[in-house]
């Protein structure tokens, strides 16, 4: 491999990686906000994302709606499903004195149920893709080639992150969510309705997942097993320290770029295992993640 080739691969890998990484970052944020406020690692993250893809596919391909109608309906529907799951199922698990394990298993139940429901519709029998949101003509940056769609994906993802940042920093509900994440008891004493905030956080997480789904579904082929992509979101969240939002964003980009570079320089076969290796190495060497705080040992 000549130097010029390496330079070209590097540019292409980093730029393509930033695009997919921005979507992973969104999914990682969706994982992290739930983990921070409810202490639950959401194992249904991938399936909620998949639900977003299939709702959009159903509306576009079966009902023939235009994007202008598909986007708001998809976002609203996925957010509603996610929020209702917390409100109906998770609150009930909490009420019957369920703790960590039980909550996680309830999310696994949701994952199974969603996957089965989507499979039942038959829409997932063949891999499908949405029509492109934006024209797919090539854009040359340096020596690398992206498509206009890639740029739209990146811009929308980063825009969504900025909106989230504004929301968490400057709105009442955003501050309430952060407060619940820091200390639920104190938040309740300060007048925050915990159940409401938890449902809102799940809705918000569903909304973000749906955004990610709408962005990436025109670019890749979707099957009911696409939920596997959430593993990359988990890898991103862990690399960034699982309770840090800036960490999740950084982690998303790191995983996206690393994935593309591994694909270009080593082999596409190694892409599949790379995130697991990343998860294990990071957890072993720096369990709190690259941007996480100090580890705390809970006493009796």
């Amino acid at each position: 491999m000549s130097l010029a080739e390496i330079w070209l691969f590097l540019q292409q890998g980093v730029l393509s990686g930033m695009v997919t990484g921005s979507v992973y970052a969104l999914l990682a944020i969706a994982v992290v906000i739930i983990f921070k406020t409810t202490d639950v690692p959401n194992f249904a993250q991938g399936e909620i994302f998949m639900l977003g893809s299939y709702v959009a596919l159903f509306l576009t391909l079966v009902l023939g709606w235009p994007y202008l109608a598909v986007i708001p309906v998809t976002l609203a529907l996925v957010a509603a499903v996610s929020g209702l799951f917390q409100r109906i199922v998770m609150e009930r698990v909490l009420a019957s004195r369920g703790v960590g394990v039980q909550l996680v298993i309830a999310t696994l139940g949701l994952a199974y149920a969603l996957k089965g429901l989507v499979r039942q519709t038959g829409l997932g029998d063949t891999p499908r893709s949405l029509p492109p949101l934006a024209p797919t003509d090539a854009v040359v940056i340096g020596d690398a080639v992206l498509t206009r769609l890639d740029l739209v994906i990146f811009a929308v993802a980063v825009g969504a992150m900025l909106l989230l940042w504004l929301m968490f920093g400057h709105t009442r509900v955003g501050k309430a969510m952060r407060a619940v994440g820091m200390n639920p008891k104190a938040a309740r004493l300060a007048g925050v309705n915990l159940a409401r905030i938890r449902a809102l956080v799940w809705s918000l997480s569903g909304l973000i997942s749906a955004v990610a789904a709408l962005l990436i579904t025109p670019k890749i082929l979707i099957t009911p097993d696409i939920g596997h992509i959430a593993i990359l979101a988990y890898a991103a969240a862990i690399v960034g320290g699982i309770s840090s939002l800036p960490g999740a964003v950084a982690g998303g980009f790191v995983i996206g770029v690393a994935e593309n570079l591994v694909g270009l320089f080593i082999s596409t076969n190694a892409i599949v295992v790379a995130p697991f290796v990343a998860i294990m190495v990071v957890l072993l060497l720096r369990p709190q993640g690259l941007l996480g705080g100090r580890l705390q040992v809970k006493k009796v």
Partner: protein, 324 residues
């Protein structure tokens, strides 16, 4: 097992197992063998999650190691089958020891995620180590044998599978009653308190991981005595979750819960094998339903306090309630 319910359950189980070869046909015996393998897998996960409270999600990986080790040895040398099963158990145990030692630094979510990642990585190895596992084409297992007696059919393997499962069930009960079992539960309830009592927490955790992996490895070996084919597809996260479901729905921390869960869910998964979407929906609904209305499972052990990976707030409240 002093409670009457245990004696009754055990008697039913033993009678059913003994009667089965005389009434069951080939497929029924195959399912029985499979359920016994699931029982051993569930008991193994029970040791690490139920007794020790370590949320490990790599059980299918150890199961796979057991299957491939026993299968490869059997295909190559045709030793008496218990030797290849033992080899599978030992290798899985060794791997379990390493993972246990590496996992000492982690707890709760971090432990779950790193063991999950390890499980997925192992499935990748099974899929891609072409020269050994034959990769995604699956691996053909030739019949196991015992001093010339070939286990060519499910019914021939059945007595041995049942015997091994019974031995391991006995071992699990003995373990949970022993002092070592108390040490495991002490670590589950509170590492700090266990340490204060003079328990070597790290050694106990390593031992739990090793034992749990050994169970899974032996289960893999049992599988090779009656099955003729293994595909890496069935050694992934799905299988780990299936076993986790058995343990949790059965009742975390309860041996009879693990056994009952293995029988029920093993049966459901085998019966619904053809209808994937229904299987998934039913699973999902059962999981959510149980967690909503009976989070402690079918056989919650009410005599002892159960507190698997509890949040900091839950513990004191429950303790007070029990005293009052």
């Amino acid at each position: 097992m002093t409670k009457p319910i245990d004696r009754i359950l055990l008697a039913f189980l033993a009678a059913g197992l003994a009667a089965l070869p005389f009434v069951g046909t080939g497929y029924v015996i195959y399912v029985a063998n499979l359920l016994l393998v699931f029982v051993v897998l569930a008991l193994g996960l029970h040791v690490v999650i139920g007794e020790t409270g370590q949320f490990a999600l790599s059980h299918a990986a150890f199961y796979g190691v057991g299957i491939y080790t026993a299968g490869l040895i059997n295909n190559a040398w045709h030793p008496p089958f218990f030797l290849s099963i033992a080899a599978g158990g030992l290798l899985a145990a060794a791997l379990g020891y390493v993972i246990g030692a590496l996992s000492l630094r982690m707890r709760d979510i971090y432990l779950a995620l790193s063991t999950f990642a390890f499980g997925e990585a192992m499935q990748w190895v099974f899929l891609n180590w072409q020269s050994v596992t034959n990769g995604s084409n699956g691996y053909r297992l030739s019949p196991a044998s015992l001093f010339g007696y070939e286990l060519v059919s499910d019914i021939r393997a059945y007595p041995f599978v049942a015997l091994i499962a019974a031995l391991l069930l006995w071992a699990t009960v003995a373990l949970s009653r022993s002092q070592f079992g108390s040490a495991l539960r002490a670590v589950r309830e509170s590492e700090v308190a266990a340490q204060a009592m003079g328990i070597d927490v790290n050694a106990v955790k390593r031992a739990a991981f090793t034992l749990s992996a050994a169970y899974a490895g032996i289960a893999g070996g049992m599988y090779t005595t009656f099955a003729s084919f293994i595909h890496p597809e069935s050694l992934g996260f799905q299988t780990t979750i299936l076993i986790l479901t058995m343990v949790v729905v059965g009742g975390i921390g309860s041996v009879r819960g693990a056994v009952a869960g293995a029988l029920i869910f093993g049966l459901i998964s085998e019966l619904l094998r053809q209808a994937l979407s229904f299987q998934e929906i039913i699973y999902g609904v059962i999981l959510m339903g149980f967690m909503m209305f009976a989070p402690k499972g079918l056989f919650a052990d009410r005599a002892r306090a159960k507190r698997p990976a509890a949040g900091p707030a839950a513990a004191p409240a429950r303790r007070q309630r029990r005293i009052a």
